[in-house]
């Protein structure tokens, strides 16, 4: 046996073991993934179904010295709902509709209610969510935390514009009711506050009245960024929804070529049978393609095309069909069919397995958008990493503290991550960020996984961050609410680290 008596005992500073550590139950340890499948965390997950359950989770975090990250359906592309080795408060089981008034269109819900639940609950009464994302599988708590937008952002603003009030449970146990009149500063900071101030437990939303279950959708192609911007500017006063698709492989004079879908609500006179078109079963997306091929396996057919050559071909074919057989056509489409493009192919993101993908989205003022997005695509081509999908939208400013909204355009780029391009892609996103910042651009926490603290500070501004930090100290003085995104961008300002 060895003799250690002659050796000097190590000092406390040399030992990292802490006597006061309180373990959490291993049964709650789960893998939590980002939607882009490129990031994950191991977290201790709790799924309370009541407000009392949320209080218990905060109490447990306090007793064990852990941080809490809020998570809805996990539809954020990056690390917005990840919280490594800490507590993940998953709100998907708080999914009850608390009240619904089909006369006024006001609905009161819990945060785990999904957008799908929401529209299915109301559409039969002639009401549609005022703002919807490209997928119906987000939770409304997550939607508020990110202040999500839709294809009607230039008209309707983000979802926060349609929230009447909400209850927020803070980590200190306080329940704050917030609206534009009561606690207005918290109202404007918690919406879009990426879960840093508290947990929404009750949300009241004003739904949008619709007279028909259909939209009139006009599709046409555009040859470059200048043309698509010209078309958007000309149409945004009369369109209800506008969305553009860009073929990111095109170069030269055709750089920025793509297609536009413009949708308008139908009036009752335009729909011979609105009661029929507003039925949930007439809104549902079909399960098969051409009545034969189950959509659940479509991603397997797309997988062989998920490479540069395949996606160049897919983008070319889409542009060609948009510019020929699909050009300047008007069709009628259900609200769900038009809104939830991302849900047409279930699990489409699996084409990006095994390394996942990231989406880079920048929001740029209208006057600098053409130059900015042209430069971004050129940078992608120079780097040899071309986005497989580009989506283009029109936006407007809003009054929320941490907003991504601008009076201008957003351009969302989907990049496949491979074993070999990871570092080059990281360098490319840094370049794309710099281009957007020079154009006065902003960024969206639901999509982001690449910004750094300097870039976040550059677009938000010192005053905004200081004001948000003040709000954070008021609602969460111990810095208990925490995510990997918050740590990545605001460690010094918000988390006291």
């Amino acid at each position: 046996m060895e003799d250690v008596s002659a050796v000097t005992a190590p000092t406390e500073a040399q030992i990292d073991k802490s006597a006061g550590f309180h373990p959490l139950p291993a049964a709650n340890l789960e893998r939590v993934d980002s939607f882009g499948m490129n990031l994950h965390a191991m977290s201790y997950v709790w799924r309370p179904s009541t407000v009392a359950g949320i209080h218990q989770v905060f109490a447990k975090a306090r007793a064990t010295g852990r941080k809490v990250g809020l998570r809805g359906a996990g539809r954020s592309y990056g690390d917005a709902s990840l919280n490594c080795e800490q507590i993940c408060l998953d709100l998907t089981r708080m999914n009850r509709v608390l009240s619904w008034d089909p006369q006024s269109g006001i609905i009161e819900i819990e945060p785990g209610v999904t957008l799908r639940q929401l529209w299915q609950y109301c559409v039969g009464d002639g009401w549609w969510p005022p703002v919807v994302s490209g997928t119906m599988f987000v939770t409304m708590g997550g939607a508020l935390g990110m202040n999500y937008h839709g294809k009607n952002n230039f008209q309707a603003g983000p979802i926060g514009n349609h929230v009447l009030d909400f209850d927020l449970v803070t980590p200190t146990g306080e329940l704050l009711t917030c609206s534009r009149e009561v606690n207005p500063d918290i109202f404007h900071a918690a919406i879009g506050g990426f879960g840093m101030l508290g947990c929404f437990t009750r949300i009241r939303i004003q739904m949008k009245h619709v007279e028909s279950g259909h939209l009139s959708v006009y599709a046409f192609s555009t040859r470059n960024f200048a043309e698509i911007i010209r078309e958007f500017e000309a149409r945004m006063d009369r369109a209800d929804y506008l969305v553009g698709w860009i073929d990111c492989f095109a170069t030269g004079a055709m750089l920025g070529r793509g297609a536009v879908h413009e949708a308008k609500y139908l009036h009752i006179a335009d729909d011979p049978n609105p009661q029929q078109s507003l039925r949930v079963e007439n809104q549902e997306l079909p399960d098969t393609i051409l009545g034969l091929l189950p959509k659940s396996i479509v991603w397997r057919f797309l997988k062989p095309f998920t490479n540069n050559a395949g996606m160049r071909l897919v983008n070319w074919a889409k542009y060609w069909s948009s510019a020929t057989i699909g050009n300047r056509k008007t069709v009628r489409q259900s609200h769900a069919g038009f809104a939830f493009l991302l849900d047409y192919v279930p699990n489409w993101k699996w084409v990006y397995k095994p390394h996942g993908f990231l989406q880079f989205q920048s929001f740029v003022p209208a006057e600098t958008a053409e130059k900015c997005f042209t430069s971004q695509i050129e940078a992608c081509h120079r780097a040899g990493i071309v986005p497989y999908l580009g989506v283009f939208k029109r936006h407007k400013k809003d009054s929320f503290l941490m907003t991504h909204g601008v009076n201008g355009y957003s351009f969302a780029l989907d990049f496949a991550i491979t074993a070999r391009n990871r570092q080059r892609l990281h360098a490319l996103t840094r370049e794309l960020t710099d281009i957007a910042l020079r154009a006065g651009g902003r960024f969206y926490f639901a999509k982001d996984s690449t910004l750094d603290p300097v870039s976040a500070r550059a677009y938000l501004g010192e005053d905004t961050i200081r004001e948000f930090a003040r709000m954070k100290r008021r609602c969460d003085p111990d810095g208990m609410l925490h995510t990997e995104l918050a740590k990545r961008l605001f460690a010094e300002d918000l988390l006291n680290t």
Partner: protein, 248 residues
């Protein structure tokens, strides 16, 4: 190729192969939690690693304190914000005479080589199985391949470890995690300093290099050095009635 491990635990890091593995991981830029009984040795190692520009954390622990493992494992993973590699390199081989049957020495061997491994690797396997990622390395021995005259319980403890690691592999490898059984021959470490015969002796650093390359490649069973694989294949094939007449 740089090693794909950023956050690692090495149990039995205060000397021998564990120390060499920890040093190499730190040289490659990983953060390593050093776990062993002797806090002073760990503190010294941490200081040397830090002086060389690496990062190590010190968690003194007796692997026979099984009940403490769950909390300590969680404390370490929380500290490092995750875990990529778990190495169990703790092991004892008390010297015994040819006619000695010491229950105390045998119990110590079983407790350190078997039960300590189970306590730590159960934690890692549960975590990696759920995560669908991560690598477990268990340091077994060529001694586990056959019941030899010398060190009966040591050999049996390594046979136990072989079967246990194979079971873990069969449980979690399908999720994407990997389990590597390492079977070294004699390695120049404090454990073997009093052993008389040390054929194909290699240094701890050479062993660590081979082990980490095997871990990075998600190998299942690796002999260190590789020459032991054919040798042990032959030894395993020797019929028992001949083997019991041999002297090793």
């Amino acid at each position: 190729m740089p090693l794909p491990f950023k956050r690692c635990i090495v149990v039995g890091a205060s000397s021998g192969m564990g120390e060499a593995i920890a040093r190499q991981l730190c040289r490659e830029g990983a953060t390593v939690a050093l776990v062993a009984r002797r806090a002073d040795e760990l503190a010294r190692l941490k200081g040397e690693i830090a002086a060389a520009g690496g990062k190590a954390l010190v968690f003194p622990h007796d692997v026979r304190d099984y009940q403490a493992v769950e909390a300590l494992f969680q404390q370490i993973t929380a500290h490092m914000e995750g875990l990529d590699l778990m190495v169990y390199a703790a092991g004892v081989m008390p010297l015994i005479e040819p006619d000695e049957y010491s229950l105390d020495k045998d119990l110590l061997t079983v407790e350190v080589n078997c039960m300590g491994a189970v306590a730590w690797l159960n934690q890692a396997a549960q975590r990696f199985g759920r995560e669908g990622a991560g690598t477990i390395v268990g340091i077994s021995s060529v001694a586990g391949d056959r019941g030899r005259r010398g060190f009966p319980v040591y050999g049996a403890s390594k046979s136990f470890l072989d079967a246990y690691l194979e079971s873990l592999r069969n449980r979690i490898a399908r999720t994407g995690a990997s389990v590597v059984t390492v079977k070294p021959g004699p390695v120049d470490t404090p454990m073997t300093k009093d052993v008389a015969k040390k054929p194909l002796l290699i240094s701890a650093e050479t062993a660590a290099d081979t082990i980490l390359k095997a871990a990075a490649a998600s190998k299942r069973v690796v002999y260190v050095p590789w020459k032991w694989r054919p040798i042990m294949a032959i030894i395993r094939a020797i019929p028992s009635f001949i083997f019991r007449k041999l002297n090793f």
